[in-house]
Symmetry: C2
Subunit: 302 residues, 2 copies
Amino acid sequence: MSEYSAQKLYDDLVKHRHIIPVGVQGIFGRGPVFENVLRAFDDLVSRVAADDGAEKMMFPPTLDRKVFEKSEFLDSFPQLAGAVFSFYGNEGQHAQLRERVHAGERWDDLQKMTDVVLTPAACYPAYPSFTGIVPPKGRMVDMQNWVFRHEPSPEPTRMQAFRVREFIRVGTGDVVVEWRDMWLKRGLDILTGLGMPAKSDVANAPFFGRGGRMLGADQREQKLKFEVLIPVISEENPTAVCSFNYHHEHFGQIFDIKTEDGSIAQTACLGFGMERVVMALFKTHGMDPGSWPKTVRDKLWP
Amino acid sequence: MSEYSAQKLYDDLVKHRHIIPVGVQGIFGRGPVFENVLRAFDDLVSRVAADDGAEKMMFPPTLDRKVFEKSEFLDSFPQLAGAVFSFYGNEGQHAQLRERVHAGERWDDLQKMTDVVLTPAACYPAYPSFTGIVPPKGRMVDMQNWVFRHEPSPEPTRMQAFRVREFIRVGTGDVVVEWRDMWLKRGLDILTGLGMPAKSDVANAPFFGRGGRMLGADQREQKLKFEVLIPVISEENPTAVCSFNYHHEHFGQIFDIKTEDGSIAQTACLGFGMERVVMALFKTHGMDPGSWPKTVRDKLWP
């Protein structure tokens, strides 16, 4: 019998008021201790990355639909995206809407698509702001954004809404690869330094459909995606708490980002799934941060 | 000629990289100095409210659709709400979706309503967790959540996505009214203490339609809504940066919240529009916090 269980972790988190159920899977409130740990981890990452000189940005949970359409996210992950619909009707239609909602009937046909979607990946809102020629040493951005994924699940680690601390690198291939290698080591060091059995591995994204499975195999082969994994709800299938994606010229092409010599800039991003890191800490060290090992506490609350 | 102008403030904020345009109105990134001021104000509010003993909670930008439907938000503000739609199709429909998006054609009919909506007001996710009998002294909650309002506008102060630092009080009428009076003074004190010409006033919400205007007049008469206002983009129409709403038994009834004697609990909430407070500070004291008056800086960064 494995000591890992999605249900047990969920129940423990609820019992200690680290998470507060709201009704729908993958959407829950966060309690004070959960938020305290999350902020401490966020600050730890800031201290580690303090000398990198990254530009700080922060984007809302909603994104320009046009940027989203350009990004080609729907080609790969149509099932995960969320589009925002609103009511554009008159008073008569409003009466209809009210009646339907109060009667518990469907009201989806009284909603129309707006110009915004939910942010599907923490880095997407930033790319349009890179359009043009990047400086010789490239650009580096540091953000913490809310991300939406339409994948309701009873696993506490698989959320519809979560925060990602995300770094983006833009520049020549050399610049991007060097940065990747630095962060892969650093990401692993941060997590093992907190006493967690973290391991990195080549990975592939959950591309949609049969063609998607081929895309995934391709991605693995080209080593475009790395993850840092920690057992949280399963020992056999550890949870990705840190994810690195190398986009090559994908976003440079789409958003017309160039290097000084006129070629298309490359991009890569690295993100920590903040809620997953916090859950991994609770799973590894127990539900009360007061009883965590001193070395871990000292790193989080120096 | 007034020195107040929505366009000038927007341009100044962009020029100083305090906000980063993304493409659609009311959605923009926040730069490092903007976020730094926002966090400092958030911490100031935490220090002022430290001894209240409020329970800390935090909710994602998306909410259970059932909670939203119960809340009756659509009765009053159908035009401001945002429902999340996703793709539920097969591979054939995915091929269609891809073609349409790449051809710049509509794809709204390939989306279906999900079980989540965007959080329409910072306090809504918390009410279901109050169901039952509240303790004799009631409950008090402290949160910071992202809120969505479908009202694209060129005014920087009118956003589609923004953060609210929100306090909720639940209990008997006496408990709620005493708390309201305390916070109305305190909210005003915090903002005038930062050197801003803040004033409080009775207000009404932007209820939809003709019936809505009557509801608004009613709300004013019953003094259910107070706001703290600061001139930010107009002297004649100052911007609400802090808003108090007294719901009487509305949410108690809907979510079955009772006081010890078995009667329906009353609720009220008070929220600071965080981005609006930050913009009011920039407007009042200038675009560079380094040159703000020492008294203001000392309060924000003690």
